[in-house]
Amino acid sequence: MTLTDNRHQAPPAVVATDLTKVYGQGDAVVHALRGVNVAFATGAFTAIMGPSGSGKSTLMHCLAGLDAATSGTVHVGDVELTALDDRRLTRLRRERIGFVFQSFNLLPTLTAEQNIRLPLEIASRQADQPLFDRVIDTVGLRNRLSHRPAELSGGQQQRVAVARALISKPQVIFADEPTGNLDSRSGAEILSFLRTSVRELGQTIVMVTHDPVAASYADRVVFLRDGELVTELATPTPQSVLDTLVKLEA
């Protein structure tokens, strides 16, 4: 089954073709991904959902070049990730991909601002100052810039992580359960920022989540079960996502 999205004219930001991932050997072999074909549209906010063990985190890791697929290909823009060695892969991550993790997003030794600028500095790139200001004001961190992570709340830390992902204008941002550790109000804030950045900055975002409410912020939700893509929803609501999940679990 091939899933396509016809609402956007630009070529997709990320495309996975026949992606498989196998862990272990012999009797202990686990097929985490079994030939996944999926494309993520540029300028869209897509959520990946599925029950525990469905392979959604593995899919994201393979898409982002954090983990190597067993077979199949991943393209980010016009670059085939699966053909790159570690050094080129690292450079690609640095230049084209942004991350927001569930927890431990920030280096404890650096201030909020230093954390935000870190990917640019690693890549020896100059920050786009108007963009920086806009991002900072959007996430409301102006008066927290000189604080270290230990002095920030969980929600604030996640906002720093989002700002960091946005600041380098990556081709795609991967967010792995970005609201998993937050209370619902902070979570809603983060999700709003993510959606705003898609709407206003044209950012492409792929988010892994198990929370139907979080998924409902996305433009489109794709569902995984047992390492296979099974269905998808466009313009989801919490209820439609929940219904689909219940159907999948059955």
């Binding site: 890791h61 982002a64 954090l66 983990d67 570690d86 050094r87 690292t90 450079r91 991550r93 640095r94 230049e95 991350f99 993790f101 927890s103 431990f104 997003n105 920030l106 280096l107 404890p108 030794t109 650096l110 870190l118 990917p119 500095e121 690693i122 890549a123 020896s124 230990a150």
Partner: protein, 828 residues
């Protein structure tokens, strides 16, 4: 709880391995030292016992320089139950080498070789002299050095410098006698020995016999003026005398062992501290399921005890190996030690090695174990281990400030208030210890600013990884401080030693230049007046030489004290401290400052001198001479009066300078020619003296540096350990950085720079401390010491420490770079 502790051990095998290695090295060194000492001492007494078994009773003079009269030997021989009694003669008898000059800087010692059961000479090849008064035996080492073989004819000087020829019939081993090892030994028949040395009696009378109460009978015959020993007592005394040097050598080695153990203790303390910090949740979980504080404390101590015991046991084996190796090496270098003995591991050594290793390990783990008991059970539920926040704290500043003031004050007092010498040095050492303690306590406060200074260049050169590394280095100041202090100890001592050797070199060279501003020195072996005046006269005729100075000295009584009285002849400018040497002539005397102090004499005083040929004369002190700047005799009179007082005494030394532009070989040749006919006159060039002096200093520096290398090595293990534990703690952080685009190489580089910064901090503090206390030690040891900081050497230490730090980081960095990003993000 026992099972938990053991499981903890198994789980942290790798991390504890480095700790164990630190203990192993320290214990190995200490145990090795003991094994070496035990082996040498045992071999000494074994040899001596074999010799002394032949002697039942020995008679010795009470005063070491006195001799036993011949009639005492007759009296003893006449005693009932004495089967044999022999008197031993011993005295200087210079051997002439193949160049016709006396051998070595001290005259060879001549020994009488007796016949019969009391013969204790160990002939290793050929035969003894027997009854042949024209036969001689020579010790192996001298024979080898001078190229003499059995059958050769050798020439020996008697006490009146008459030449005698002998046939070399055998080679002997001088055994454990340390003095013979230095002077070399010749053996002759008793009669010949007596003739050559001019000895007026015996140095020892050995008695053989088995009658009961023999010792008492001999003692009664000898009378109260002599010491009578049994053979066993004699053996014990000989062994003790022979072992003295080995024992002080052992003591010096042990000092290095203690330094190594101190460094190891710091490494262990740090490791356990980090292990406890990492296992906070584990400890909390234990507390949650009902473990008491005491049980948590006990489990950590038990863990350290097991590590300590295992490592110490291995350390004992390593020590045994080290000692065996050292014996082999010493054997190659011909040291006067019985190196052919097999190394022995005594129970005492094992006990000491195990006890030291165990105590240091457990002792170093006490504080970390106490920290572990403070973990509240609730910590098990916390998601993330908090970074320990470090606050400088006023008490720390006050305590370390006080210690610093006390340490520097004590050092200054040691330098300024005491005369150079042992006491002053002890005070300086105490000041050094206090200062070091202050630095140890202040360490965590210093780490941050120091890493900022040291890290400035790497941070600029290596961009983000560099900046992060410098941040990380000072992230846990307590840990960083302990890690670097371990290195600081080694670098401090190394810098101190190189400052002291460099300063000694500068000081001595300056003094040599002042005292010995000459190209060649002609003198006898024992600084006796043996250089015929004709030598100087001959040299004065040579146009190639610019100056020839003669110094003559005799032992005489001045104001009731025996001192060296002498004169000089030739162009020399005395270094006058007070008074004046102008118009120095009859009835006048110049004194060395220290001699003047001893005699209580000042310029203008009158002294009486007992002369050999002019009776008692009164002399007026006209000048005091600066002893460190002068080669004149302590009591100097003018040349003419000296000859009248003591007759035509030969020169004690002749100092010669060549003209500028005369090639050294040519000058040397003609100086040698002038001395050629006089076997006792040895020619030394100042370059040779300086060369020997430099060689000795270089040797000392090399050995001490090598021994301190052990402490450095252990501290590097500490850096590797701290770093690998930090890498482990920061697994997720590293993974995050990798996800954000840091390459493997950059990550490795980051950790290397962190290690570099740690190494440089440790080295810099060490260099400063070593430089300051090297100066203090110099001032405390020598008056008018010149200070010299061997800059290239010190820079080398700093660079090597940095490099070593980077090396220590290789493995931890590789592990960090290899880790999978996905797995690492998931941990914790």
């Amino acid at each position: 709880m026992l099972r938990t502790a053991l499981a903890g051990l198994r789980a942290h095998r790798l991390r504890l391995l480095l700790t164990a290695l630190a203990i192993l090295l320290g214990v190995g060194f200490i145990a090795g030292t003991f094994v070496l000492n035990d082996t040498v001492q045992a071999a000494f007494s074994q040899r001596v016992t074999a010799d002394a078994d032949k002697v039942d009773v020995a008679v010795l003079p009470r005063d070491a320089h006195a001799v036993l009269p011949a009639r005492l030997l007759d009296r003893i021989r006449a005693l009932d139950g004495v089967t044999d009694a022999q008197g031993l003669v011993r005295g200087p008898a210079p051997l002439l080498g193949r160049d016709g000059k006396t051998v070595g800087s001290l005259p060879t010692t001549a020994l009488s070789v007796v016949r019969g059961p009391l013969d204790r000479t160990n002939v290793v090849s050929g035969t003894g002299p027997g009854t042949d008064d024209h036969a001689a035996v020579l010790d192996e080492n001298t024979a080898k050095a001078q190229g003499f073989r059995i059958g050769d004819t050798i020439t020996v000087l008697d006490h009146e410098r008459g030449e005698h020829r002998f046939e070399l019939v055998g080679l002997i081993d001088t055994g454990v006698d340390q003095m013979l090892a230095v002077t070399g030994a010749l053996g002759f028949t008793p009669a010949t020995t007596q003739r050559l040395t001019g000895a007026k009696g015996y140095r020892e009378i050995d008695v053989a016999g088995d009658a009961p109460g023999l010792e008492r009978a001999v003692a009664a015959a000898a009378g109260p003026g002599h010491v009578v020993k049994t053979g066993d007592e004699l053996a014990a005394d000989l062994a003790r005398a022979a072992g003295v040097e080995a024992r002080s050598f052992t003591l010096a080695l042990l000092l290095f062992g203690i330094v190594a153990m101190m460094v190891a203790a710091l490494v262990i303390y740090n490791t356990f501290n980090i292990l406890v910090a990492q296992r906070t949740r584990e400890m909390a979980l234990l507390r949650c399921v009902g473990a008491t504080r005491a049980q948590v404390f006990g489990s950590i101590l038990l863990e350290s005890a097991v590590v300590g015991a295992l490592a110490s046991a291995l350390g004992l084996l390593a020590g045994y190996g080290l000692a065996a190796l050292a014996l082999t090496v010493l054997g190659v270098f011909d040291t006067p030690l019985p190196t052919d003995a097999t190394a022995s591991l005594t129970p005492a050594t094992m006990a000491i090695g195990l006890a030291v290793g165990l105590l240091v390990t457990v002792g170093a783990a006490v504080l970390p174990a106490r920290a572990a008991t403070r973990v509240p059970p609730i910590a098990a539920l916390r998601a993330q281990v908090e970074e320990p926040a470090f606050r400088t704290g006023l008490p720390r500043l006050i305590v370390s400030g006080l210690l610093l003031v006390a340490g520097l004050g004590t050092t200054a007092a040691g330098v300024l208030m005491f005369d150079p010498g042992q006491l002053s040095l002890v005070v300086v050492v105490a000041g050094g210890a206090l200062t070091f303690l202050a630095v140890l306590i202040l360490g965590p406060v210093l780490v941050k600013p120091l890493s900022a200074v040291v890290g400035r260049l790497p941070a600029r050169l290596f961009g983000v990884p560099g900046r992060l590394a410098v941040e990380n280095a000072a992230r846990n100041p307590g840990r960083a401080a302990t890690t670097t202090v371990a290195l600081t100890i080694g670098v401090t001592l190394m810098t101190l030693i190189s400052v002291v050797t460099a300063s000694t070199r500068t000081t001595m060279t300056a003094q040599l230049d002042a005292q010995f501003p000459i190209d060649y020195l002609l003198a006898g072996q024992e600084r006796d007046p043996v250089v015929p005046r004709a030598v100087a006269a001959e040299l004065r005729r040579r146009p190639e030489l610019s100056s020839v100075v003669q110094i003559r000295e005799v032992r005489a009584t001045v104001a009731g004290r025996r001192v060296d009285v002498g004169t000089y002849s030739g162009p020399i400018t005395p270094a006058v401290a007070s008074g004046s040497m102008t118009g120095f002539g009859p009835g006048q005397v110049a004194l060395n400052e220290s001699t003047a102090r001893d005699l209580g004499a000042r310029v203008g005083d009158s002294l009486s001198l007992q002369t050999a040929e002019a009776g008692r004369v009164a002399l007026r002190v006209t000048a005091l001479l600066d002893g460190s700047q002068s080669s004149l005799p302590p009591v100097t009179v003018a040349e003419g009066p000296f000859d009248r007082y003591f007759g035509a005494v030969p020169d004690t030394m002749v100092m010669v300078n060549a003209k500028d532009g005369v090639p050294p070989e040519q000058a040397r040749k003609l100086v040698d020619a002038a001395a050629a006919n006089y076997p006792v006159v040895q020619v030394t060039s100042s370059t040779e003296v300086r060369g020997e002096f430099d060689e000795t200093l270089d040797m000392v520096l090399m050995i001490v540096t090598g021994l301190l290398g052990l402490a450095i090595l252990i501290s590097l293990l500490g850096i590797a350990n701290t770093l690998s534990l930090s890498v482990h703690e920061r697994t997720r952080e590293s993974a995050l950085l990798r996800a954000l685009g840091l390459t493997r190489r950059q990550l490795r580089g980051m950790l290397s720079i962190e290690a570099l910064v740690l190494g440089l901090i440790g080295a810099l503090v060490g260099v400063v401390l070593g430089g300051v206390f090297g100066w203090a030690a110099m001032m405390a040891m020598l008056a008018d010491a010149a200070y010299s900081l061997p800059v290239p050497q010190v820079v080398l230490f700093v660079l090597l420490s940095g490099l070593a730090g980077v090396l220590a980081a290789v493995l931890p960095a590789r592990r960090a770079a290899r880790a999978s990003i996905v797995d690492s993000l998931a941990t914790g």
